[in-house]
Symmetry: C2
Subunit: 369 residues, 2 copies
């Protein structure tokens, strides 16, 4: 793991000091911020997420806010999904695409009120995209990055902890829905969301000066549930088939190649950037699909892929592997890949290059669990 120098160009999240105090050992850089990825015991971090509750600094999940009379119209122009029925307090997983239908980001879009929306974003400077589209298109909406930084609690005990902190109303929140609230005077938006399939919430802190205070408050309240530090979990997310934008996708991926087909609306009256291109892709059929792979035997462990690895079949390259892990719950080595559509649809057998030689692998639908 290469050491990375600190610099003002790469920001710390509002929870950074608390995560260092909690023993953060490795990081990634995401949206030009340090994000802790482990606290030195990956097995315990996985176990916590699956069985109790984990506390994640995901402050690097930045928001772009649209604010003004045209905010809704601009959100629609930027989203390859019909937003016409969207309600205040609702979030939706959306594909943001360019004019050729390429996937630019896979955020949660949150409607805070009729004139105020947030895109809660994966790793890319989408403020540039949203600003250019808004201003060049003459939309009456301010586009900015607000002082908003999510902290996540994830795992089966997360709802009990959230109920202790905020009240029993949290049980009525549907997935991706949210409410503006506060905790000991700290303003935040509580959303039923998070990058795992173990259930949980994201607390969108609205005052960057209070990050460590919020972190400590959640940690203390979670002690009775066995809370401990964690991070977006590479093993669980592969088991659950969750997309890592920019890791599982390439710059030319369209949303159909990223497993987002069910979130893209092409047969709709609304218009948005990339619609005509996406309609053509639907008509032609996507060339590749995002899929799972079950690898033969045990792969080298850990095997952190530093770059996408070729997948071959019949002597030619048919796709790329973007993640591979040992799944404790399946007792198998599994991976995520983009592979030619026909091979995915026929659940073909392919071959993956590994440090210990070629491995047979079987295409498997997502999620694994």
């Amino acid at each position: 793991m290469p050491p990375v120098t600190t610099t003002p160009r790469i920001r710390k999240s509002p929870f950074y000091d608390a995560t260092v105090a909690a023993g953060a050992t490795t990081f990634t850089i995401y949206n030009k911020m340090f994000m802790p990825l482990s606290y030195g015991d990956l097995a315990a971090e996985y176990d916590r997420l699956i069985n109790t509750v984990a506390l994640w600094d995901v402050g690097c999940e930045r928001q772009v806010e649209l604010l003004g009379p045209d905010a809704g119209r601009l959100a629609q122009r930027l989203s390859a999904r019909d937003l016409s029925g969207m309600q205040v307090g609702q979030g939706k997983y959306v594909a943001m695409c360019d004019h050729d239908g390429r996937l630019l980001n896979d955020p949660i879009l949150m409607k805070l009120d009729e004139k105020r929306y947030w895109f809660s974003l994966a790793d890319a400077d989408m403020l540039l995209w949203c600003t250019a589209v808004g201003r060049e298109g003459g939309f009456d909406a301010d586009v900015s990055e607000p002082d908003v930084s999510p902290l996540a609690i994830q795992g089966p005990q997360a709802p009990a902890l959230a109920a202790d902190l905020f009240g029993d109303w949290i049980h009525d929140l549907k997935y991706f829905w949210f409410r503006e609230t506060e905790l000991n005077g700290i303003p935040l938006v509580l959303c039923r969301s998070g990058w795992s399939k173990q259930g949980g919430f994201e607390l969108f802190l609205q005052d960057g000066a209070k990050g460590n205070e919020l972190y400590e408050g959640i940690r203390a309240a979670g002690t009775r549930y066995g809370i401990g530090p964690g991070a977006p979990n590479h093993v669980e997310r592969v088991e659950s088939g969750l997309l890592s934008f920019g890791g599982d996708t390439t710059p030319d991926s369209n949303p159909f190649e990223a497993g987002m087909a069910r979130y893209v609306d092409t047969a709709t009256e609304v218009d948005y950037i990339g619609k005509a291109a996406l309609e053509r892709i639907v008509a032609d059929g996507p060339k590749r699909l995002f899929t799972g792979l079950i690898l033969e035997g045990e792969a080298p462990s850990p095997w952190p892929l530093a770059e996408r690895t070729p997948i071959v079949a019949g002597g030619r390259q048919v796709g790329t592997l973007s993640a591979v892990v040992h799944s404790p719950r399946l007792g198998r080595t599994i991976g995520l890949a983009q592979i030619e559509t026909a091979l995915v649809e026929s659940a073909a057998t392919v071959e993956v290059k590994s440090p210990t030689g070629n491995l047979h692998a079987l295409v498997h639908p997502l999620p694994f669990i």
Copy 2:
């Protein structure tokens, strides 16, 4: 220095393997790529840059290409500088601004032919900005990131090395001018440029598969000049007053606050994004300026700033320090800062917080050397 995990989301440059073989010890993440920052001997790396020649992997300096009949018109729309006299083979340092005059990037714009331009960019996803402006504005130009990765040779022996490799014509290249050429069949663009004031060239490799071959070729040819590995040098760039976009600037900085006044054209016929806002800033006068600071005595060394540090005067904050180093050539501790205009213009004395207590500091014009 926090260890950072490898992931396909963060790319390696075409020169990565060669830099690891050369002993790279620390990295930064820049445009979602690993960039080596040191090879374990900062004093030797500085000495090489000042006295002989250093070889830098700056592949993370990505290009955005504009290609098509409207490429020139689009380049102008994106650049706060009058490009009307620009010639093929010429590069210009330009400010890219948003509609409110905020600095989005400080690239070198290169005119490859009448229909083909490159922005050679600092750390931000400017492909998103350029694509949105181009497509939403109806410009007839393809906008893409080409397979182009710069490798730099910097230092007083760089011209002799470049002449050995490419011929004596390199002595006639003016600053920021370039020529398309090749080296042992490897296609590249040779430009007199680089992020130091010691002179040198950037070789814009046009085939990512040939990175290590190019690196080794340059290294071998440079042996007689004492070439060795290096990286954009934090000490030399502070001495020279070179801007680090995103480090020395904040999201609300305008180009006047970034030391770019002489590159911004407001009294001109041409139009571009942000022009009206920049004219207002000129009329009102910028509130802050980018400046040097000479600090009292010796500061803690090394003192890598992890975030911008407040500067105070008269009991209130008047600016922020974004870089501080010991200058071997000056024998002083010097820094870079954004400070209120009046204090810069009167060369005031201010105070900087340091790990060992407050330090007096004197405003000093840039460059130091």
